[in-house]
Subunit: 350 residues, 2 copies
């Protein structure tokens, strides 16, 4: 083997990165192997191709485990996933083998905050009903008559005669704060959140946010107050055992009858059966969900899909060209940092 | 007739105003006649009941014409419509008979600005496709596999690698300005508009808005630049002959391939056939419409209803409890002002 060939690390990419591929293909100093179909690469293809790889770009569906590491061999330096989640990667195993791991947080904050606002608006405006009204041609039928309170819902923005609005955040990280920044333009006046115990740092931050957004209040509260006082409740907390079914029947029973619930984080935080009951029995007005417990196995007879005041989209929070390209770009940057021993833009450590 | 009976003006209400009815029913000093079903009152009922009326509350469907005025008789002082539009009222006729006319502008600004943002987000996020994906159970099927650029669309908000966004406004009145205030939270950096010739007043206002919203630019432009430079084009101009088909094939051909068009004002401003062609041939990315030319006669085989990247809702811009209650309240206030010779909150003059 010539020294030149030795100098070219092998990189395996488990899925075409679409418009981000030129970033890899233009690199003359790597030996590139790509599964170029727009579907997950089959496991046998992966195991056949990773031997000798120094770096691998993976997605959520690609399990990075003992088998993966053994197949790759001792030269594997970096696994870079184009995802914020890393449930598919055995991190302690990576640490034992000195394999660096990159991921793509942060870059999707703005896209998810966008869809959070979209779902809050859609949930308030009865989008399931109005959608079928147009799609089925009901708009054109004589029995579709305008009426002063037909197809109405609670208004997200404030008005002269309804001058306050309280946004509640279950979890108050980057996406929640980006959502709050958007809500200010709708006249939201109060923000409540639950989260990690307030440190002196977060009081300073809260004071700064309250001033910047000209809020009447920005307050860390307990879950009970959050449920009782929110006009719109945003679920923006990580998944996992610690947040499992935080929004359950007891929580939903405390909410206001015209309130909205929006979940754009993890389906497991909200008890789907309790939410369906809350909607059916009018404990709350409506819900907008980008994530549902048990997804993607959500069929047309799922109790929430059948609920007329529940709007569901199929986990597309980060699905914009800009954000997905940023995620792919970040995955490539992480890969190169791992290959050539530089600092990663976003590195996961155990 | 006793003086007491003479002192009680007769008021006819052509449609139950729902939660706003107590405002009328609690008034002891009027003689109230209400069509209380939640549908338009039949014309014969109206003509039978308005003789001797001093005030009438009407809606868009009730034609206020010669026949109406003749049936009411010379005691008619005020017609109050629960609507912003007044196409159903013959204003010169009202002037000739010294009948004052009230309407309900302004109060729906915030609700319409909300739905304008909702439609911009939905148009970018392929809501027709994602909706049917969930409703049809496709999310649960094995062939629904996540893929890096599946179901993507252009992002409304700015990102680190895509740091500018230009919002264009065809018409720059109250609703457009309320929409712009909301867009600031999404990171929109540039705003362009067409409208009445810039006066020194509007330059001062524009400077103030630019500073308040920290925009890089806020500029009145010609229609050509508006079409070419907008990432999102908001149609927010009044209807009528002067704006008929302002958005036509020539306009749409100038727009950017990833741009969005949102119409929440009047259907007649946008040429539906041209828009359907623009979407089919990818001149623009998507459209969100609360109004469509020829509504409500929009059937399921309408070219825009069939377009997958066109989101349509059935003219529900002001359909929130808060706003409709404000409109009904304003209609009642206008009525009383007209009955008792006071200033109206919102009076229409020829």
């Amino acid at each position: 083997m010539s020294p030149l060939r030795e100098a070219k690390p092998k990189v395996v990419v488990c899925r075409s990165l679409g418009p981000a591929m030129p970033l890899l293909a233009q690199q003359a100093d790597i030996d590139l192997v790509v599964w170029s179909e727009d579907r997950s690469c089959p496991r046998p293809w992966l195991l056949e191709n990773i031997p000798g790889a120094a770096g691998v770009i993976v997605l959520l569906g690609d399990k990075v485990d003992e088998e993966f590491v053994r197949a790759a061999g001792p030269g594997l330096k970096v696994v870079s996933t184009m995802s914020v989640g890393y449930e598919h990667i055995d991190l302690p195993l990576m640490a034992r083998h000195n394999i660096r791991v990159g991921y793509t947080p942060d870059v999707l904050t703005e896209a998810v905050a966008d869809i959070t606002i979209m779902l809050a608006l859609m949930a308030g405006r009865n989008d399931n009903n109005v959608y079928s009204t147009v799609k089925n041609g009901d708009w054109a039928r004589p029995n579709f008559a305008w009426s002063p309170f037909k197809l109405c819902g609670p208004q997200l923005s404030t008005t002269l005669s309804s001058p306050t609005r309280t946004a509640g955040f279950l979890g108050f990280g980057r996406i929640a704060q980006a959502t709050l920044a958007r809500l200010v333009g709708f006249g939201v006046t109060h923000a409540l959140y639950t989260g990690n115990p307030a440190s002196s740092n977060s009081s300073v931050r809260d004071e700064e946010l309250k001033t910047r957004h000209r809020l009447q209040a920005l307050e860390r509260v307990d879950v009970d107050r959050l449920a009782r006082e929110s006009d719109i409740l945003f679920v923006l907390t990580p998944g996992g055992a610690g947040t499992y079914h935080l929004v359950d029947e007891a929580f939903l029973r405390k909410m206001k009858p015209l309130s909205l619930l929006v979940n754009t984080s993890r389906g497991s935080v909200v008890d789907s059966d309790a939410l369906a009951k809350a909607l059916k029995e009018n404990w709350i007005w409506g819900a907008g969900l980008d994530v549902v417990e048990g997804e993607p196995l959500i069929t047309e007879d799922h109790p929430l899909v059948k609920e007329p005041r529940c709007v569901i989209v199929p986990h597309i929070g980060s699905a914009t060209f800009e954000t997905r390209l940023d995620m792919a770009t970040r995955a490539v940057e992480n890969l190169f940092a791992g290959l050539f021993g530089r600092d990663m833009p976003a590195e996961l450590r155990v």
